[in-house]
Amino acid sequence: MADSAQRLDTITLAVPEPVDLARAPIPASADQRLVFRQLFENLVRIDCQGQLQPALASSWRADSTGRSWTFALRDGVRVPYGSSLTAQMVESAWHSRQAALQSAGLESVSALDDTTLLVRMSDVRDSLPQLFADLLWSVGSVNLPGAPSGFRMNIPIGATGPVLQILAAPTGDLRDALDAGADLVISGDPQVIDYAARHPEFQTFPLPWDRTYALLRHWGSALRVAGSLDSAARLSLARDAVQTEARPAQSQAWWNNGPCALSVSMKAAVPTATRVVYQTTDPVARQLAERIVALAGDRPPLSVMGLDPVRFADALERGNDAGYIVALPFRSVAPCRESAEWTRRGYPEPLIDTRSRAIVRRGSPALTVDYDGTLRIVPPGNTMETQTH
C-alpha cells in the first residue's frame, strides 16, 4: 500500500482505547498486536501470503542435521529508537523465556558473535519453522522516550523514517479520530468503514482474515444448538449475527491438525451453569453469544454473560458454563503454544472468521501487511513488494 505523494514525518495511528503495555510482547487484542509489532521485531516475518521474509535476520541456514539454524543479523539493525541490535541481545531476550524455549522445541540458543545466532531445535525441520515469526521470540521494548503510555506513544520508524504516533481516540469513536486528523485506523466496525468510504481523503483496504471465533463447549454441556452448525448456519452467523466483516469459518482449524492439536480431556464434572460467556471487550463475541443462545431455544433457557478478561479466563478455567465464545488466531505460527492455552478446557467449534480493514489517509507512507494483519510502515528507501490479499 503506497501512495505516490508520500509525505509526513509523523503518521498518526488511532486506536479505539488505550493499549495495555503490560502484556508486551504477547498481544491480547488486535490493537495490542498492531502496537507491539511496531515495538518488537522478530528474526523473520511472515508476509500476507504466508511466506517467510527477512526481518532482523538477513539470512539463515540449517546445518546438515536439519536441527541447527544459524541466523545472520542484518547490518545496522537497531531496536526501535534504541541501540544497534546484537546477537547477544537476542540470546539474552530468549533466555528470559526459558520455559517457552522448551515448549517451543528450542533446545538452545547462543550468540556466536555480534551478528550471528545459533539455534538448535529438538527435532529436524526441512525449512525454517514459522514460530520464529511469533512475537514471543521478538526483541524490543516498551520503554520509549517521552514517557509513553497507553494513550499516546511515538515510535520512530527506521533510522531516518517517520515517527509513528499511536493515539487512543478520546471518545473511543474512530470516526472522531479520523475527523481529528488520524492517518491510519484499523477497524472492523461497519459504521467506521462506511464513514471513511464517504470521505475521499481516505482509502480502505481489507486486511487478512486474522480471527476465528469459536464456540467452546465442555463435554456434557447442556448447550444444544437447534440444527447443526452447518455452513448455512455459519453463513447466517457471519452475515446477520455480527456487525463486522465476517465469513463462515474455514475448515482449516489449526488446533485440530499438526503435532500440537488440541487434546481435550474429559472434565470431571458436567457444566451446570446455563450461560454462554464472552469477553466484554469483544462486541463480535457478544453478538455470537446472543445468536447461539437464540438458536439454543428456551428449554432450558440460556443467557449470555459478559466478563472482563480476567474473570473470563477464570470462568474458562472452571469450565462450569454451557459454552464460551473465544477468539482464536486464524492462523498460528506457534500452534503448540497457542493450543496449550486451550487444553483441558473443551473443544472449540469454529463459527466465523473475521477481519478488519485499514483506513489510510491518502498521502501516507507505504504500508505492508503481515500474515496476521499487522500493518507495517515501510521505511523510506525500503522497497517492499506490494502484495494483495
Binding site: D240, E290, A294, D298, R299
Partner: protein, 552 residues
C-alpha cells in the same frame, strides 16, 4: 381496688376496640386506593404503549430500506435486523418484536439475534387480549424480561407484519407503592400468597399473562396483589394492652403501698392498743400506752393510758379497801375468836368466884377441875395470835434466786411426799422480792397442789420457772405450780382467794388470800388455770431485780 380496676379494664377494652375498628377501616381504604391507582396506571400505560406502537408501525410503513430488505435485498438485511432495536430505543419501549404472518421474528429489539426464530402463537394469543396490556414473560440475551405488552400490525410490501411491543414491568409494579406499609406482589398463575400468621388486608388486580418461556404458551391470568399488613395495628393493640397492664400493676402497687401505710399508721397501732387493752386486768395494770402521736390513735392511746392510770389508782384503793375490809373482817374475826377464847376463861372465873363465896373450902378442888378449861382457852388464844402474825409479814425487797428457792421448797416437800418435781429455767435472772415471802408463797401453793393430788396414784406436782418477755421489751420471772389433781370448779375458783374460804376441814381459809396479797405486795401477778378432774396451774409472775440481764 375493684372500683379502680373495673373501669380501667373497660377503658382499655374500649380503646382497643375503637383503634382496631378505625385502623382496619383506614387500611382497607389505603389498599383500595392503591388498587385504584394501579388500575389507573395500567390504563394509562395501555394507552401510552398503544400510541408508541402505532407510531412505530406508521414509521415502519414509510421505511423504504425496511421494505427493500423485506423484499430480499441483502444489502439492507443488516438494516432490517437492527431496525427493531433502533425503533425500540427511539420510542422508549423496552421490548419490540416484528414478526411476519407465520410468526417468524424478522427483527427484535430486546433480543437482536433472535431473528428467524418462530413464535407463531404469540400474535394469536395477544390478539385475544386486544386493547389491554398483557403481562408477558420473555427474555433478553442476559436475563428474563417481564413486560407490559400490546400488539399492533402493519401492512408492508404485500405482507402483514405484527408488532409486539411493550414496556418493562418490574420497576413499574412497585413504582406506585410509595407507601412502604403496602406490599405489592406479583402472583403468577398457580401461585398463592405466602401464608402468614399476620392479619392482612388484601386486594388484587388481575392481569392477562403470557409466559413465552413456558411450554405451552397460553394466555393466563396473573394477579397483582396489594397487601396491607396489620402488624402495626397488632403492635398498637399490644402496646395498649401493655400499658393497661402497666396501669393495673401500678394501681395494685399503689394499693398495696396504701394498704401497708394504712396498716402501719392505723391498723397495727389499733391492734397493739387492742392487745394491750386485752391484757389489762386488776392484777396486770403495767401496760404502757405512751405515745408521741398527735392523731386519733394518739388521742386514743392517751385516753387508754389515763384510763389505765385511773384503774391503777382504783386497784390500789380497791386493794386498800379490800385490805380494810379484810382488816374489818379480820377485826371482827379477831373479836369473835378472842371472845371465843375469853368466854371459857370468864365462865371459869365466875364459877370460882361463886364457889369462893359459897364454899371456899372447895375452891382448890373446883380450880383443879376447871384448870384444863382455862389452859385450853389460853392455848387457843396463843395459836390464834401466831396465825394472825402470819397475815402481815414485813417485806424485804432484794434480788432473790428464784430457782434456788424453788429447789429448796421442792426438796423440802419431796422429803415428806413423792410426786413432785422441779423444772427450772436455766440462767434465770434474779427476781426482786423477799426470799421468805416467796418461800411462803411457794409453800402455800405447793401445799395446796400436794393436797389436790393426794390419793391419786399418778398424781404429780410440777414446779417450773421461766422467763417471759414483756410487751414493752421488759421481761418477768414466772413460776408455775401445776398439779394433776382434782381441779376446781368455776365457783370454787371464784372464791378460792376469798379470805377464810376453805375446802379443807380445819383450814383457816386464809392461805390463798395471803398468797395473793403477798404476790401483789411484791408487784407480781397471779392467775389460775384449772379444770375439774384434770388439775390446776397456778402461775405467779414476779418482777426482775434491777439490773438483771435478759436471758438469751
Amino acid at each position: 381496688m375493684l372500683a379502680v380496676l373495673i373501669p380501667l379494664g373497660a377503658l382499655a377494652l374500649g380503646v382497643r376496640r375503637e383503634l382496631d375498628r378505625r385502623l382496619t377501616r383506614e387500611y382497607q381504604e389505603r389498599v383500595a386506593s392503591m388498587v385504584r391507582v394501579m388500575e389507573r396506571d395500567l390504563a394509562r400505560e395501555t394507552g401510552v404503549v398503544g400510541l408508541r406502537l402505532r407510531a412505530t408501525a406508521t414509521q415502519l410503513a414509510r421505511d423504504n430500506r425496511f421494505r427493500l430488505a423485506l423484499q430480499g435485498d441483502p444489502a439492507n438485511r443488516p438494516y432490517l435486523l437492527d431496525y427493531a432495536g433502533q425503533a425500540m430505543r427511539l420510542s422508549g419501549l423496552s421490548m419490540l418484536q416484528i414478526q411476519d404472518r407465520g410468526g417468524r421474528i424478522l427483527s427484535s429489539g430486546h433480543f437482536r439475534n433472535q431473528f428467524d426464530q418462530v413464535e407463531p402463537n404469540l400474535p394469536r394469543l395477544l390478539a385475544g387480549a386486544a386493547d389491554t396490556l398483557v403481562l408477558v414473560r420473555t427474555r433478553t440475551p442476559e436475563a428474563p424480561l417481564l413486560a407490559f405488552v400490546r400488539i399492533d400490525s402493519v401492512h408492508l410490501a404485500g405482507r402483514e407484519l405484527t408488532l409486539i411491543g411493550g414496556i418493562e414491568a418490574t420497576g413499574r409494579l412497585h413504582a406506585g407503592a410509595r407507601d412502604r406499609s403496602l406490599d405489592i406482589t406479583l402472583l403468577y398463575p398457580g401461585d398463592s400468597l405466602a401464608s402468614s400468621s399476620d392479619r392482612r388486608v388484601v386486594r388484587a388486580v388481575q392481569l392477562p399473562y403470557l409466559d413465552l418461556l413456558a411450554q405451552p404458551g397460553t394466555l393466563d391470568t396473573a394477579r397483582l396483589v396489594v397487601t396491607q399488613s396489620l402488624d402495626s395495628l397488632e403492635a398498637l393493640r399490644r402496646s395498649v394492652s401493655r400499658w393497661f397492664f402497666v396501669a393495673l400493676a401500678l394501681t395494685l402497687l399503689a394499693g398495696i403501698i396504701a394498704a401497708a401505710w394504712i396498716s402501719g399508721r392505723i391498723s397495727r397501732p389499733l391492734r397493739d392498743l387492742a392487745q394491750k387493752t386485752s391484757r389489762l386486768d386488776l392484777d396486770q395494770l403495767d401496760q404502757s400506752f405512751a405515745t408521741e402521736r398527735s392523731d386519733e390513735i394518739g388521742a386514743l392511746s392517751r385516753l387508754l393510758a389515763a384510763m389505765t392510770e385511773r384503774l391503777r389508782t382504783s386497784a390500789v384503793r380497791l386493794r386498800e379497801a379490800e385490805r380494810r375490809a379484810a382488816v374489818g373482817d379480820l377485826a371482827r374475826q379477831v373479836n369473835h375468836d378472842i371472845k371465843n377464847g375469853l368466854t371459857p376463861i370468864r365462865n371459869v372465873l365466875r364459877h370460882m368466884t361463886q364457889v369462893l363465896r359459897q364454899n371456899p373450902a372447895s375452891l382448890p378442888e373446883v380450880f383443879e377441875a376447871r384448870r384444863a378449861t382455862i389452859e385450853s382457852s389460853v392455848e387457843y388464844l396463843d395459836t390464834l395470835a401466831r396465825n394472825y402474825d402470819r397475815l402481815a409479814p414485813e417485806l424485804e425487797r432484794k434480788a432473790c434466786d428464784l430457782n434456788a428457792i424453788v429447789q429448796q421448797v421442792v426438796a423440802n416437800a419431796a422429803r415428806d411426799t413423792g410426786g413432785i418435781q422441779a423444772q427450772l429455767y436455766p440462767q434465770l435472772p434474779p427476781a426482786l422480792g423477799d426470799t421468805l415471802v416467796i418461800r411462803r408463797i411457794l409453800e402455800n401453793l405447793i401445799g395446796n397442789a400436794l393436797d389436790s393430788v393426794s390419793g391419786k396414784a399418778d398424781g404429780m406436782v410440777t414446779v417450773s420457772t421461766a422467763w417471759v418477755r414483756g410487751g414493752e421489751g421488759a421481761g418477768r420471772l414466772q413460776v408455775t405450780v401445776a398439779d394433776t389433781g382434782i381441779g376446781m370448779t368455776k365457783s370454787e375458783l371464784d372464791r378460792a382467794f376469798d379470805d377464810f374460804y376453805t375446802t379443807k376441814p380445819g383450814g383457816t381459809g386464809l392461805g390463798l388470800s395471803i398468797v395473793r396479797r403477798l404476790i401483789l405486795d411484791l408487784d407480781g401477778s397471779l392467775r389460775v388455770e384449772t379444770e375439774p378432774g384434770k388439775g390446776t396451774r397456778v402461775i405467779v409472775e414476779l418482777p426482775p431485780a434491777a439490773g438483771a440481764g435478759v436471758p438469751a
